[in-house]
Symmetry: D3
Subunit: 274 residues, 6 copies
């Protein structure tokens, strides 16, 4: 099988990798995520029996990985923002592959500039709402707090959180919602969907930096993504925090690749993106 | 604990390994499956609290591994067919341990010669119904198409398929069925049961060449096998595609070994084989 | 994040490790369990969104690992018994981290001396009720038989057993019970809770010496532990048989660490221990 | 660093991968060799302080991997032969990355057609001179016997052999030679250089299917290759049998990549290829 | 290739495994050594180009592994001693595969009873001369002290020691010798040769419990063993401390298997054993 | 064995870890180096038969790991500089355990402030002399260029470099020297010794981010370090770039730990530090 991520240059959906993991505090390695997803895609079919659609029939572009400097996150975030802004300004939908969760901030900044009433839907095991972490305001553990600064509490919705500090919990419980409520609230408003793959149970996806037991099954997340994408007006999305080297069986990368496939097909079905 | 696969020479059920994986396109290694199952069986009891039966009381024979040449699959398939035919002609039930899925074709050829009205029940994540794959007509990805050529559409039943091409899907959706329907249709007719172990979710069994997320739990497959075996007239069966080296934890081999134990005990309970 | 096991010297609950695995027959390595739990705890928060409690507010002490000789288990069991007896005689609750399951015998001996009407609640995949194993009466495979000798059949309760010999099955089926029944029977009597972590399904916890497929999910075990601890009068407990080296993804240690966190918080909520 | 294998379209030297390993009898996986070499090349510089040359200044082409069917080696060998013949007929020098050693036969057939007086220089731990292996005449264990059939005893030279059967030893000891003698004998005649990377000691390169202790150090092999390439008229060459998955440290692929770099630079220095 | 350890029942040399590792203090796992050596032997030829001899022509017996209890070393040592005594009393030469180094004590006790003037030649990285270790007198770290108690300082010779305490160093420096001196001193006296495989550099053999950098190369140890065996009157020997699970590349087991092959062939060449 | 790094509070030599690896471009993970060295030290003796000295008799302090933020290297370097300056101003010798090589810059800045005529001796496989890398001036690949900016060409000496760009090579060949010359040039001047452990051959130390084949053996590096330390006036030193997770055998950490032991003992023998 060929990689189903082979470029389809005519697509409005534009995949790109953001291989950055310098603020990961526990176990780095998500920089290898985008490449691992591409490789694992060779073992999957392009056709989805769930959605009865084939990627061969769904135009999208894979712009490969951004070249990002390691260390200080500021220049990396700027490069991600510029890339996402370029995609959006050409009428496209950026689909970012992480990298650590902080990379989402670059794409959300771009989407938020373009769509002032942007809503952000956040699927994750961790609240990521600390104001500072190890003295840093830009970190995988603070990323959604920075998004909150950007869009405000009414426009940030969290689903699946099962790990937080007591301080984060107070805030997170206010942001917490269900897929049904999100789709009611969002209506026709533009949404950015950010999915930290550690929302999955570690038995399903051991290859992530800070696994937290007690998460979703593959089918639960796959159905959640497809249902959100087809019901919301998604103007940008990402799947982040795959750290393939932590899972020597290679299964984690296949799990991420299948989620990317199902998401691409669902984006195609959604009227705004196809 | 000793291996529960220690030979019981008087048994009608004859286990043997077919350590062949030369057509595996993504990640080879299923050649090490049979040996890994034997080793993992040391860590399991011979008694099943589910079936209240002990392998010590259930005669069967382990004829160890066939010596198969690598590369061209034709001579390997011939050797497998000859072995299975010998077992059947002595009134036995061949129980094949793979190896890649293509090895099943050898045993099914033998069973189909002996039992002209043979039905084949196929448990798998993948349809394996391509007519050709990478230019080859004999491949792990075409094996069930070759079985279809042999027994016809009315006698091939598929359960659990979650991965296929669009072309395969049309065919596969006609072959797709449920355990209940199979047992109604098959009645007293002889059945060959072929189980590609990647029907399990990769969280349960990461050690397989082409894992596809979203599969069965251990209990679902274990119950499915036991219920099929005790309700059908099984004249041959196999469990294939364990690739133990891909799972450094060793759990995948234990999963396969427990499925072999439960299947052996279920075959013993079935009137035809005990 | 700092380890949530940093010492809180004022606590009535006293954690300590028993890094002993010399009678492990299949795959040793549980000696590294306690240290791996401490390290994995760095990646978890101290706050539990399930129990709405934070370890920072729950006093307990971590007395680190006992220094135990390898080989003959008698001196190791004596050292464990002395340590547990010291904790109990100072009004504390020993919380032992294994190590192989045999280490529980030391702590149960101590608890049984102090509390003559002690009940033992045993969560495990394996019955561990052999009278002898490979010629040894003190072994991970005989440990609950030795506990039975100590407390008698009426005071030993087993939950979750899915692997045993036919002989063990007769005995185990009489000891088998449900969480509800245990809490009815035990009432205000002192209980020792021993949890062999292989009660979990191997997909959730591959890092254990004798994994047996078909076990509990993380949530099932976490809820079971919390519900037992908050409903019984727990005077001692242990979590044993994590063998971290068998799981290169590191997830197994995180699973164990989260169970330790939830158990510590639940012990704090139970009136007797807080 | 970018991969130093980025294509230089103007080069006379044409790299290509032959990802085939279907006849591997012990541990397959060399199909992943070419891709692993490309990835590992990112961690190396393009400049060689030994040869004071930079790949940036040395034109060559990387034609990526051939798409080869698995199983029967005949069609794969045909495709390799056609590719090598095409390169040679355009005045180029094919540089093959294996794959198992059998793939060399395809390239040597092409070179032997084009250059009737071709000499073959064989660096390896194993003699590979069996006439048949597991009933097969085309196998990694028979490949040099097939080359012998093609070029005759006077034109096949072996260096470094440390493993063989008694039968092979008689033949191999006649073919055995030293670098100095080879360069005297070969003179201006065209030579094909085939290097099975297991000539290295397994401490240097654990990632190969049949490691044999007691081999060369990295410097010994690197110097040997450079000295042979710069002294002979090399019209084709290969480096085969890297099996990267067997070495989780990733070092084996880096070793192979550095040997490819040094060989490319040496080929450039040799007047015939530069 | 078949395992070269397939039984040759007529042989005077009797191989057997002692899969015991319960006193290992750092990293257990040498219990899997003997089985790993048998499996790795499949990848090696039976012929040695160094000694120009083939195992096919050298009678020996492989009596497989003793079944040893884990935990207390006393019963295990008794079983090993009985086995070695039986071999010697039938005119044979026991060749023990460990297991941790303590297992040698069983065989040396047997040899010392039979041959009162026995000399012991000890190849190792570690002196193993502690009188007690973690409170135990029977341990991998005290084994040569127990041998010293048995045979006296004049009859114990150490080669290769590079790790010891200051106390051990005083004793060890008196026992330290060279191969040449040993063969002069020993003359026609019976010798037991015990080889802890960690005398090799960890780059050559990472799969051992307490690796110590700075050791021998494969060729150095192989030559040392062959030269000692062919010059001394070896009445028993062992190779111990391979811990195969610590080396995921599998190379360590191949290294040990090749040393066993060379040792068997050298024993055959020695007049007393052939 | 206890860790030989247990604190000796009275020592002038002060060990501390700098677990930072955010600018690592190829494979991060050196943040886990200091902790892995401490753990591996449990398997080594405190006595060195080479130097006939025991760490028990050599006072030093282990101040454990600095808590460093990930991402932007500036604050991390500041914290390292402050720590090293504190040690030096109390008359101590800082001994830094990395972490990526960039961490050395913090310590060298401190030493250079205190000792204006400081010389830096640099042992490494890589020149690390780029002026910029991926747009960054502070990176593991530019660290020695920043040191050069600080101390000037006459005071920076490189040993062992085998990998560089053509630009670096011009500069590096001027800085390149031998141990003998360094000790002549340096005389009584204060020296800082920085050792990137990838100067070792990858067979000896696979656990490092950018292994480069063809390096030193363990004995060569151990002798080099001891001879430099005992001949120079070392006022600060470091050993960096161990990335333990890349070597699943654990040997790399043991290699680093033994080098730390030998260095500590050598520092003790040097008159200035003992």
């Amino acid at each position: 099988m060929n990689s189903f991520l082979a470029s389809k240059p005519e697509g409005r959906i534009v995949l790109f990798g953001a291989p950055f993991d310098s603020t990961s505090s526990y176990r780095p390695g998500s920089r290898f995520g985008p490449q691992a997803i591409r490789e694992a895609s060779h073992s999957l079919e392009t056709f989805s029996p769930e959605q009865l659609l084939d990627l061969e029939e769904c135009p999208f572009t894979d712009d490969h990985d951004l070249e990002l400097p390691f260390g200080d996150p500021c220049p990396a975030l700027d490069l991600i923002e510029q890339k996402a802004a370029r995609v959006i300004s050409h009428g496209g939908v950026p689909f970012l592959l992480g990298g650590e969760h902080l990379v989402s901030l670059g794409a959300i900044r771009a989407a938020s500039s373009m769509y002032p009433n942007l809503r952000v839907v956040h699927l994750d095991a961790h609240a990521d709402l600390r104001d500072e972490y190890l003295g840093m305001r830009l970190s995988h553990a603070t990323v959604m707090r920075r998004v909150l600064d950007l869009v405000g509490q009414d426009r940030l919705h969290q689903i699946g959180i099962r790990s937080c500090t007591r301080e984060e919990h107070e805030l997170s419980s206010r942001l917490s919602t269900t897929p049904e409520k999100v789709s009611l609230l969002a209506g026709e408003n533009p949404c950015y969907l950010t999915c930290d793959i550690d929302i999955l149970d570690p038995s399903v996806l051991p290859g992530t930096g800070t696994p937290d037991p007690g998460g979703l099954s593959f089918r639960e997340l796959s159905n959640l993504l497809v249902s959100m994408i087809t019901r919301l007006r998604v103007v940008g999305m990402d799947i982040v925090e795959l750290s393939p080297g932590l899972d020597p069986s290679g299964v984690s990368a296949v799990v991420a690749a299948k989620l990317v496939r199902e998401s691409l097909l669902a984006l195609h079905r959604a009227p705004a993106c196809g």
